[in-house]
């Protein structure tokens, strides 16, 4: 039983090996080719720039985001979670009757409280 157990990890080990070999092999190949003179070394700013899906990069890779974005992200989560929970509830609503309605009302009220809090404290305004 234990052997079977570890055999499954053996598959994972093979994956790990491949995942290790491929990038190392690419880097090593590149180095070997440059040594052999197959790959010429001609650096330029465009070549050194990070690859962003073909768009021109704006600013450095280490720039900071405004903290306010996080507040928006959190608010987004409030409503995202609400929808995630609302969908299965809507599907099963017929079977669960009045009780489910009350429970969902409480759930939405709690979220609404959070939203009211954010509004009242001025987190919805961009200052």
């Amino acid at each position: 039983m234990l052997e079977n157990y570890f055999r499954q990890y053996g598959l994972a080990a093979i994956f790990l090996l491949v995942a290790f070999l491929v990038p190392v092999g690419m880097l090593a190949g590149s180095w070997v080719f440059s040594r052999l003179g197959v790959r010429p070394a001609k650096p330029s700013p465009v070549k050194d720039a990070p690859y962003e899906c073909g768009m021109e990069p704006i600013g450095g890779p280490w720039n900071r985001f405004n903290f306010r974005y996080y507040a928006y992200a959190l608010l987004f989560v409030i409503f995202g979670v609400e929808v995630v929970f609302l969908y299965p509830w809507a599907v099963r609503f017929i079977q669960m009757e009045l009780f489910a309605l009350i429970e969902m009302a409480i759930f939405i009220l709690v979220l609404a409280a959070a939203w009211a809090y954010a509004w009242r404290k001025g987190d919805l305004e961009w200052r």
Partner: protein, 511 residues
């Protein structure tokens, strides 16, 4: 969901609902004093509902009483255990939260109007702690743990200055990592047992044909170690203690107070429940794990505390050391000696000494913290050297703080003297005399830095002459915790009886 389920979770609902109410009232009303009153009323309601549950559990209202109220009509039996063990911790957490709120009235001035946030987050966190002590299933444990940790991280950052933000961030990050480790342990347990219920895990462990390794499987052993990381973070045991001093120093003093007592108590509650109910019937070798952590925590906590110059850092290291003393009681699983104990009939001495120690520690450490809160909200400093001559500026505060420090050393007639006596004697009766010896030596060593503070307060000339004035609510908080500290030190029998009754609710313990 039936009304019986609502009755079961009514204490938690009351406290969490009050938290929500505080948030909303904060948006509407300008008067901040009202909010603390509402929060206290919510805690009192929680206490009342807990008392009702205790009455039903003991059968005082008629009937024969139920050891675990959750086993009955309703959906919650699988995830919650509303037994005397959980109710004990409900009372402890609610009392601690109430004292912290009473004591922080003056301190809140420094919070730039964030009264509502402070109170609401405190109540949410308290709800999490209460749930944690009742959780009987891994997912519930995890949710309760997060409900405890996340508000505390926000609370730690509530002063919004540099130190406070740092404290909040550190608590959040370290907490997240520890709960990730714990979650991994839970996954291993679930993979092994096929259930997340703690009782189900116990049943799976008892099934025959296990391998001849500790806990029957390396997976379970690894899970135990990983779970310890999660619980160790909450109880601040070495080596999961790194966050403690920074957070205690940076966080608002009332938050540090709450963190040091309630959070620790809830951590020990879940630790005891998982280990006794989950593994108590099967194997008690985790006692050795706890013993190792205990020795390390006491020694590291006390040694590093010696060179501290900040009272809150000092109390932070002291709380690490006390986690070690309490872990001695956790380690004292076996009846007479580790080799003779039979699983399923573990002695009550160890866990009941843990519960008594926690109650005593809550009282004594809150005494220290309430005094520190009162002082730091007036002199705005936590340096020990600024406590010089405190006895002339406020004799009662100095006396209360001295009493608390004496209690933390373990000097009679204070609560922790009896508590240490019980913990050490439980260890000796479990064949862990060496651990008791380490504990005694550590107690002696710890006297050095506690007495240093007392000496500064009483013998050195005061730095400033003006007297320290304190509002009546803080006096009330101080009087309550001082009275509790002395009461448990002079007449411990009642609290010992309660602790003893509470641990009998855990399966694995001899009934």
């Amino acid at each position: 969901m039936s009304s019986y389920d609502l009755y079961l979770i009514s204490p938690y609902l009351a406290v969490a609902g009050t938290g929500l109410l505080v948030v909303l009232l904060d948006l509407v009303f300008r008067r901040k004093g009202l909010l603390a009153g509402v929060a206290l009323a919510g805690l009192a309601l929680g206490l009342l509902l807990t008392a009702v549950q205790a009455r039903d559990s003991l059968g005082l209202g008629g009937g024969s009483g139920l050891p675990n109220l959750a086993i009955g009509p309703g959906l919650l039996a699988a995830s919650l255990a509303v037994d005397r063990f959980a109710l004990f911790f409900n009372v402890l957490v609610l009392a601690a939260a109430g004292i912290v709120i009473l004591a922080s009235v003056d301190y809140l001035e420094r919070m730039r109007g964030n009264h509502g946030e402070f109170l609401a987050l405190l109540l949410f966190s308290a709800t999490g702690m209460m749930l944690l002590s009742a959780a009987a299933e891994l997912i519930t444990i995890y949710i309760a743990l997060e409900l405890t940790t996340l508000p505390l991280a926000a609370l730690a950052a509530l002063l919004m200055d540099r130190n406070s933000s740092e404290a909040g961030l550190k608590y959040l990050i370290v907490g997240a990592i520890s709960s990730a480790l714990m979650l991994y342990g839970m996954a291993l347990l679930f993979g092994f047992a096929g259930t997340t219920s703690v009782e189900g895990i116990a049943a799976a462990l008892l099934a025959p044909a296990q391998q001849p390794v500790p806990f029957g499987s390396y997976a379970v052993l690894a899970a135990v170690a990983l779970l310890l990381a999660g619980f160790g973070f909450k109880i601040a045991a070495v080596p999961f203690q790194m966050w403690v001093p920074d957070v205690y120093q940076g966080a608002p003093a009332p938050v540090a107070a709450f963190l040091s007592v309630a959070s620790k108590a809830a951590g020990f509650a879940v630790l005891l429940r998982v280990f006794y109910t989950g593994f108590g019937d099967f194997d008690w070798h985790w006692g050795a794990l706890a013993a190792g952590l205990a020795a390390a925590s006491m020694t590291v906590g006390n040694l590093v505390a010696m060179s501290q110059t900040n009272i809150r850092r000092l109390l932070g290291y002291s709380t690490i050391a006390h986690a070690g003393y309490i872990l001695i009681g956790v380690a004292a699983v076996a009846g007479t000696s580790a080799s003779q104990a039979s699983p399923g009939s573990l002695t009550t001495a160890g866990p009941s000494s843990v519960l008594f120690y926690l109650a005593a520690y809550v009282a004594a450490n809150l005494t220290a913290f309430v005094a520190v809160i009162a002082i730091s909200s007036r002199i705005a400093s936590d340096r020990i050297s600024d406590y010089a001559g405190l006895v002339q500026r406020s004799p009662f505060l100095a006396a209360a703080l001295a009493l608390a420090l004496a209690a933390l050393i373990g000097i009679p007639p204070t609560s922790l003297f009896i508590a240490k006596l019980y913990v050490f004697s439980a260890a000796v009766h479990s064949g862990l005399a060496w651990l008791a010896l380490v504990g005694v030596i550590n107690s002696v060593v710890s006297a050095y830095y506690y007495i240093k503070v007392i000496r500064v307060m009483f013998l050195e000339p005061p730095a400033a002459q003006e007297r320290i004035h304190i509002s009546p609510t803080v006096w009330a908080a101080l009087a309550l915790v001082v009275a509790a500290t002395l009461w448990m030190g002079i007449a411990p029998a009642a609290m010992l009886g309660v602790a003893e009754g509470a641990v009998r609710a855990l399966s694995g313990v001899a009934r």
